[in-house]
Symmetry: C2
Subunit: 215 residues, 2 copies
DNA sequence: TGTACATCAGTGAACGCGCGTTCACTGATGTAC
DNA sequence: TGTACATCAGTGAACGCGCGTTCACTGATGTAC
């Protein structure tokens, strides 16, 4: 950073200085505005104001960019869940807050969310960074869910998820499904309440069918 | 059908006779084998052994074909759920059977399932047939879930879902989430059980956290 | 402090490709008479 | 029963397009001396 030449007075410097991050940001924008189908490496470069071959300096082709976007998404989701959880002490409240953060994240970043979990990236296991980010997100959920069993939460899951308690998966399934149905507009909050309403309210309302005392 | 000229002895008759269905079937095959990204109208025509412009006789472009595939998917899902439900009398058993049918369908038709719920078809409301098929699927779930409230199930939802009980949405969320996590390989049955295992067993196992007596 | 030079980050032309869709057409079908 | 003809279902050439990726390149940077 010390030696960066990018100056604010300079309109378009030869060296961008932060192209990798800029490309990811452009990709996210296109993703959210136009959908995965319309996302092209050339379009991303164009939006970043850079030649169409510049991205190859930072990613191994289009698939590399997609993986980086998804990884950043998982990191953001993990952070959101952690922040939600730390605002409460009671395990039930913690878990509820995590679920709400999850829903909020999905709604605010629906195209990225879809990319993270969809089939657009065929084999996630070939992208170590992506795996690590995904594990981080799952760990954020599982560590709280583990409290219900009284077992200690394993602090790493190695992409194996061994030892993660059933509730983690059950809670994840529920919240993941609600998130998906909401972003796919299969459940519209206003349809359930009969008026305009908040998806988070929905999360709480449906959540009472979930009984974590049963383990 | 009476006047169809397609004869079995004839290798490639000029008139196909059943091209619409054949195109949908080809689309499903490509979808499951190669993913949405690789699905092209030309490829579908090719696989059906027909010129690349023939599909335009039966669908209004690529988007029309996609909608037809999704609609057929929803009909199949609705049928599977209904068949699952009729094998039991107890409402809880009925609901559990519906969930299991849902998971089975998703796993057996994962690419179609993704298409049904994903963003590949941008505005489903412009396709009346698709809406109708989706409503049919939701109705199959909601009519059973409604038993828990003691209220009568509305027999149509008009794409509005008004009057559908909360449990229907909660159960749907749970089962939809588990289905998605399974087809996206985020939860691998063998990871949870520590050995090879059956996704349906998972459905039951996690399902016990769901308490439908609370309404 | 000044300069030669290796390294790094970006350029721009070019490749070959498959796509969605249109158009004027032709072969097959079924019906009115 | 035979035939003219409207209708239907498919053909094949052609359009313009944007894409991913490669290649040899050039401008900028930072360091060894």
């Amino acid at each position: 950073m010390l030696t960066m030449s990018t100056s604010k007075k300079d309109g378009a410097p030869y060296h961008h200085g932060n192209l990798r991050e800029a490309l990811i940001a452009s990709a996210v924008e296109i993703l959210e505005e136009e959908g995965v189908t319309k996302l092209s490496l050339r379009g991303v470069a164009r939006r970043s104001g850079v030649s169409q071959t510049a991205p190859y300096r930072h990613f191994k082709g289009k698939s590399g960019l997609l993986a980086a976007v998804a990884a950043q998404g998982f990191r953001g989701l993990a952070k959101a869940m952690r922040e939600g959880a730390t605002q409460h002490d009671d395990p039930s409240d913690k878990l509820a807050a995590i679920g709400q953060s999850y829903i909020r994240f999905a709604l605010a970043n629906s195209a990225v969310f879809r990319l993270m979990f969809g089939a657009e990236i065929p084999d996630k296991s070939t992208e170590p960074d992506l795996c690590e980010a995904a594990d981080e997100a799952f760990a954020a959920l599982a560590s709280t869910a583990a409290i219900f069993t009284g077992h200690e939460a394993p602090d790493r899951f190695n992409g194996e998820q061994d030892g993660a308690p059933d509730q983690a998966f059950a809670a994840w399934s529920y919240v993941h499904g609600l998130a998906n149905l909401l972003i796919d507009r299969q459940i519209k909050p206003e349809m359930v309440f009969g008026g305009e309403s908040d998806p988070i309210e929905l999360t709480k309302r449906f959540g009472r069918f979930f009984d974590f005392s049963r383990f």
